[in-house]
Amino acid sequence: MTESVNLPAGFEDLAPYAAVWGSLETQEERYLQRQHSTMKDLKAYYDATAPRLNAIFDHLDQFPMDALPDSEALLYRTALGLTETAMAIEVFNQPRVPYAPFPHKMAIEWNEYR
């Protein structure tokens, strides 16, 4: 799906991270991706996106949240990976929650939402 969709202008350099995180649709998938990533990859992704959260959301703010164009939707999904990656980089200093089984899946349901 990411083949035909490009990131919005100004965010093209995030393409390598969009290839990994931009195809994930749910928090469960992002949690698993984090667990299967190396710290090196997580750090590179974090360094590229975390300082740009404001720029990313300033751009996304121009669109209705329920009708993001494909490029913006890809950018948003790419940014969402940071919700998991920040836990690895800023909190645990490792991809997985210490002592947890691996891989660890947890079902998440946003009640009657979207």
């Binding site: 919700t83 998991e84 920040a86 089984p101």
Partner: protein, 413 residues
């Protein structure tokens, strides 16, 4: 707070024994069977919120692994919420197959017996072949239901030994008017894990582990210098239920850019809304039953409802945890994060996803430890575990657990 240590309730202050508790309670299949019969078939069990079925015809289906029960909870035309076993009166099929919906009738997919939303049987195809079936008494099997503060409780006994208010034993009065209904939006996280359910109940009933197990997640935000073992303060008990006050670090100032960014977008459920507290408009924080000591760095009141619920009201929402045994060595954890509203912007949605990940990771730490604990228990080298003076609620839970297994507990002394 002149002297905080005065409010650090110790087991001896509550006259609690149970400093040594048999590991067998946590590993034996026989104890699990007794728990099913003597606790989960007798106590009132929380299964949802009335606002999950707001309109007549709204229904939800819940499965309760402990009792292998499939339950339909439905609001009738008359506005009344009822619960039934999801089992057809003909030959038993669990006929309601959607997890939620709105309907005025339920039609069994096997032979099309039809039930009304109030559970009564309305039609039998080829009815002449069932002359022995009295339609008036062959509806879906009802389950006793009552609600408190918008929480739906079920009781699986033929006749409950106590009403829900009797069961709640004053906890309901302490929390009278607490604004749970202001936080209708919920994210639910569930997981099954290999440990006894009581390991998790215990983990939520003491703060002793917070600075250690949660050293990277919770400790910086909640463990204050003056209470390094995060002793619960002002422990209140109501029959087998309890509440204890927990502090947090208001000077916590995360230096981590991505998490800090989240804090700036939206008030995450678990962050203190200092401005709101000062203006006295901060949801639960104004309630007289919560933070009775009026400690300035109030974090949460951790509320335990026997046998398997922990509720933590926060500045801008509340956390709800429930622990269901599947057998003696396996359990299901359900975490619900309640907030004021669904995200209205992408920034809020991102912030909520981030808060969800952070909250989940803390519970994952508790579950990971509970699993290691089970491995240790089952290894068989120890016959007992030890509960300290600083773990009064673990001793209290054990006291009431033993009482229930002996047929007491429900209002009886």
């Amino acid at each position: 707070m002149a002297n905080l240590s005065e409010h650090m309730t110790k087991a001896r202050d509550m006259g609690l024994d149970n400093g040594r508790v048999p590991v067998e309670y946590y590993t034996s299949a026989d104890y699990f069977r007794r728990e099913q019969d003597m606790i989960f078939r007798r106590a009132w069990l929380m299964v949802g919120r009335v606002d999950e079925v707001p309109e007549p015809g709204d229904y939800i289906v819940r499965d309760l692994p402990t009792l292998k029960a499939s339950v339909v909870i439905a609001r009738g035309k008359d506005g009344k919420v009822r619960a039934f076993h999801n089992a057809c009166s003909h030959r038993g099929v669990a006929l309601v197959c959607q997890e939620r919906g709105n309907a005025m009738t339920f039609r069994c997919p096997y032979h099309a017996w039809v039930y009304r939303i109030d559970g009564s049987l309305s039609a039998i195809p080829a009815e002449q072949d069932f002359p022995h079936v009295d339609k008036a008494t062959s509806g879906l099997a009802p389950i006793h239901l009552d609600s408190w503060a918008g929480f739906i409780f079920l009781n699986f006994a033929q006749e409950p030994e106590a009403t829900l208010p009797q069961f709640l034993a004053g906890l309901d009065q302490m929390l009278e008017g607490a604004p749970f209904e202001q936080f209708p939006f919920c994210i639910r996280v569930t997981d099954e894990i290999d440990c006894n359910w009581k390991n998790l109940v215990n983990a939520f009933n003491e703060g002793y582990h917070v600075a250690i197990l949660h050293s990277k997640t919770l400790r910086p935000a909640v463990v204050p210098k003056e209470n390094p073992h995060l002793h619960y303060l002002d422990v209140k008990h109501f029959g087998p239920h309890s509440a204890g006050t927990v502090q947090r670090n208001f000077d916590y100032n995360p230096q981590a850019p991505a998490l800090t960014w989240v804090y700036a977008q939206m008030l995450p459920t678990s962050a203190p809304d200092i401005a709101a507290i000062e203006e006295g408009r901060a949801g639960f924080y104004e309630h007289p039953g919560i933070n009775r000591l009026k400690i300035p760095n109030f974090g949460t009141e951790t509320i335990t409802i026997f046998p398997n619920i922990s509720i933590q009201p926060l500045a801008n929402g509340y956390l709800f945890y429930q622990f269901w045994p599947i057998n003696e060595g396996r359990m299901r954890t359900e975490v619900r994060i309640y907030s004021r509203h669904a995200p209205r912007t992408l920034r809020e949605e991102y912030a909520m996803a981030s808060t969800l990940a952070a909250t989940r990771d803390v519970v994952v730490e508790d579950m990971a430890m509970s699993r290691l604990q089970q491995i240790g228990f089952e290894s068989g080298g120890k016959t007992h575990q030890q509960f300290g003076q600083n773990e009064p609620l673990l001793r209290m839970f054990t006291r009431d657990y033993e009482a229930y297994l002996q047929g007491k507990g429900m209002g009886q002394p």
